[in-house]
């Protein structure tokens, strides 16, 4: 930790010496950042299961997921009766980074977006040794986004594989076999066929929110084994893989094959429901739409693996995802690890979250576990989904998820880069920029405003 070396006395000098002299005198005392220290490494708890004892504070987001975790934590308590868990719903995005910097009253563990973890590794426990036994059994993608300089900082939680959501009835009547959609070129061809049959359709969904469109881009890039930066943080936007994606988008737009709408906002929902959209290449969490938002087309959607960019290429990429972190200043890090080990790697733990529960009677079907033994196609945790015509989404998702290639940690400035890359993607989708312009403009600005200022 590198909070300023500010003791109570130093503070009093700084605050109560109102005169300029006194203030100058205390400047040295409250300089931000000291010398960088080695991150702390968390070792395996020495105590045996039954002896684990103490209290931990765990942060989660509010909402339904909170209730699901609450129930899962109850299962943990049954296994570790002497560990008291103080489970809190907080505004993690607004609080966690600040709390880590200040180092006071930090939780013993927290849920966090994978995109945030790499930038704050210094404030987190190095969990490499603890995760070692499970490493070979964990999605390589999830491991890679949680690994900075060879050390693992997050307990990999959900995997969010991209899938191709499609209207089964429309493909059927247009004579398109979903199994034939092996590449993105096949998808364009199918979209043309659908449109010839019904000129009203704009079959392919393109995302209008800059943030989500960039997240979607990373799914398509991740599918090809690349991402915005390499492991050393060097930008690799100017590449064949990204150019391939942008050119594909340009083709789809030119042929008028796209519905450009913001994710599940009213305009999007309406055009999904009135049959204009036929293909939605999106993460598994889109399953929420047919289950809760769509009315007219509920039951008509199905999921397939994404097409591949090159014949035989990976059939999925990850879009979003979270992990669990243990702050370096946690009071009971060992106990927090026991909880996360239970949730992520032990059957009663992950079953309690993904399996049928009070909040989701059919199970939680908006992501899948990243722990491979938990993601067994033959042993579904969540049930076939009626809103998808009874399709076994589990099988489709875990098989697609297993093909997701490893990536690199997500740079700390990822969300900021949306102002450049995400916006330029929107220009591409509106036909105002060419693929080469998107690449050169975005790369130049990201380099100057973000990477060079790291």
């Amino acid at each position: 930790m590198s909070t300023p070396p500010l003791g109570r006395r130093g503070f009093l000098q700084g605050a109560l010496g109102i005169g300029a002299l006194a203030a100058t005198g205390s400047l040295a005392a409250c300089a931000p950042g000291g010398t960088a220290t080695q991150p702390s490494k968390l070792a395996a708890p020495s105590a045996s299961t039954s002896a684990a004892k103490g209290e931990i504070t765990i942060w989660n987001r509010s909402g339904d997921l909170f209730k699901v975790f609450d129930a899962a934590i109850a299962k943990f308590r049954a296994a570790y009766p002497n560990v008291k868990v103080n489970h809190q719903a907080v505004d993690i995005d607004a609080k966690l980074a600040n709390t880590l910097i200040s180092g006071t009253d930090v939780p013993d563990g927290s849920f966090w977006d994978d995109a945030k973890i790499g930038g704050q590794a210094e404030h987190l426990f190095d969990l490499t040794d603890l995760i070692a036994p499970y490493k070979d059994q964990t999605s390589p993608y999830k491991l890679s986004v949680n690994t900075v300089d060879g050390k693992i900082y997050g307990v990999p939680w959900d995997l969010d594989p991209g899938l191709l959501w499609y209207r089964e009835d429309i493909l059927d009547s247009a004579g398109v076999d979903p199994a034939s959609l092996a590449t993105y070129d096949d998808l364009i061809t199918a979209a043309r066929t659908v449109k010839e049959k019904d000129p009203e359709t704009r079959p392919i969904h393109l995302e209008k929110t800059p943030f989500l469109s960039q997240l979607w881009l990373e799914m398509l890039a991740g599918q090809q084994g690349t991402s915005l930066t390499d492991a050393q943080g060097k930008l690799r936007l100017d590449s064949e893989e990204y150019r391939r994606i942008f050119t594909w988008i340009q083709t789809a737009v030119k042929d008028d094959l796209v519905t450009h709408a913001p994710y599940l906002e009213p305009a999007d929902v309406k055009s999904l429901d009135d049959g204009r959209q036929v293909f939605v290449p999106w993460a598994i969490w889109w399953s929420f739409a047919p289950q809760q938002l769509l009315k007219a087309t509920k039951g008509k959607w199905r999921a397939a693996p994404l097409p591949a960019w090159t014949p035989g290429g990976a059939r999925s990429g990850a879009m979003g995802g979270s992990s669990f972190v243990i702050p370096a200043k946690a009071k009971n890090p060992e106990l927090a690890w026991l909880l996360y080990e239970f949730l992520c790697f032990k059957e009663p733990g992950y079953t309690a979250v993904y399996g049928p529960n009070d909040v989701y009677p059919g199970g939680l079907s908006t992501s899948i576990p990243s722990y491979i033994p938990a993601a067994d196609p033959a042993k579904p945790l969540f049930q076939p989904i009626e809103a998808l015509g009874g399709q076994d989404l589990w099988k489709v998702a875990v098989e697609a998820g297993a093909t997701i290639p490893a990536a690199t940690p997500i740079p700390w400035w990822w969300a900021q880069s949306v102002d450049y890359l995400g916006n330029n993607m929107q220009r591409l989708m509106e036909g105002k920029m060419s693929p080469d312009q998107v690449i050169s403009e975005s790369a130049e600005k990201i380099q100057r405003n973000l990477i060079d200022r790291s």
Partner: protein, 288 residues
């Protein structure tokens, strides 16, 4: 004016005690940060005026100031006029349903912004929002309220106006109370028209409150970040990335040095603007 030795210091002491305890340390700390590169983790590096230079040469920084300046033009003059009109009307004892109108105009001020910003997203939705529905009824075409760079600023300005005009009315009502009724009666006897009365009596007398309002709302407009953050995330194409949101983005990215430098540049700017508006609106007979 009278100078008395100790009393004024005693009277202002409580503020400065609180300021000394909770203001000076953060202030000095932030000032130092503005000369450093520090992302909340690792060692901070002294970079001199680099953060300031970066901002002053960054098109994004100037664009954010430009966006705020446009918002200022859309908001402040209109709010002063509307606030004054509202205050005069609501103070009028012969207005029927006065209680109802008072509640209507001041109520938005009591609502929580995060919830009400959602309303804006829905009501101004291009395809399914209420506003375009009404426009269509009147035979007018759809407007891309939140998704075009032309309309995004006016739409956000409306949210700000809606939310804070109640505040302006309260400030100006308090200013109006200083206008004695007798002055109007005398003016009416002199045969001055109502418009004349308004311009020659009301406006000069509430000048002080107007100056105050302009300064406070200038600060608020240049520091505004929650409205664009919730409604447009600064888009489309950065058209609603206000000075406050641009600053906020540095801080959420834990780019604390740049964020601090940005803050101090904003302070300078806002201070200059406040001086100008105070001077322009100063009552003619006043010196201090």
């Amino acid at each position: 004016m009278r100078s008395t030795r100790l009393s004024p210091y005693l009277f202002i002491a409580p503020f400065f005690v609180v300021f000394a305890a909770f203001g000076i340390y953060p202030l000095i700390y932030a000032l130092q940060l503005s000369f450093m590169r520090w992302r909340g983790a690792g060692a901070a590096r002294w970079v001199g005026v680099d953060n300031y230079l970066y901002l002053l040469t960054s098109p994004d920084f100037w664009a954010s100031l430009g966006n705020s300046a446009v918002m200022w033009v859309l908001i402040v003059p209109l709010q002063v006029v509307a606030g004054l009109g509202g205050a005069v009307l609501l103070a009028n004892a012969r207005l029927r349903l006065r209680g109802f109108f008072r509640v209507a105009f001041i109520a938005p001020f009591v609502t929580p912004l995060v919830a009400m910003a959602q309303v804006w997203i829905v009501v101004f939705d291009q395809d399914y929002g209420l506003i375009n529905y009404l426009l269509n009824l009147a035979g007018l075409p759809d407007v891309a309220w939140l998704t075009s760079t032309t309309w995004s600023k006016p739409t956000l300005a409306l949210l700000f106006l809606w939310k804070t005009t109640g505040f302006a009315i309260i400030i100006l009502l308090a200013g109006l109370q200083a206008v004695p009724g007798g002055v109007y009666e005398a003016a009416a006897l002199d045969g001055a028209s109502r418009a004349r009365q308004f311009w020659s009596i009301t406006v000069p007398l509430v000048r002080r409150s107007m100056a105050f309002l302009v300064v406070i709302q200038t600060l608020a407009v240049f520091q505004m970040f929650a409205e664009p953050y919730v409604v447009t995330q600064g888009g489309p194409y950065g058209s609603t990335t206000t000075a406050g949101l641009y600053l906020y983005n540095h801080i959420t990215a834990s780019d604390l040095g740049t964020g601090a430098a940005n803050s101090f540049l904003l302070v300078l700017l806002v201070f200059g603007l406040s001086l100008v508006s105070v001077r322009l609106l100063r009552p003619k007979d006043e010196v201090s």
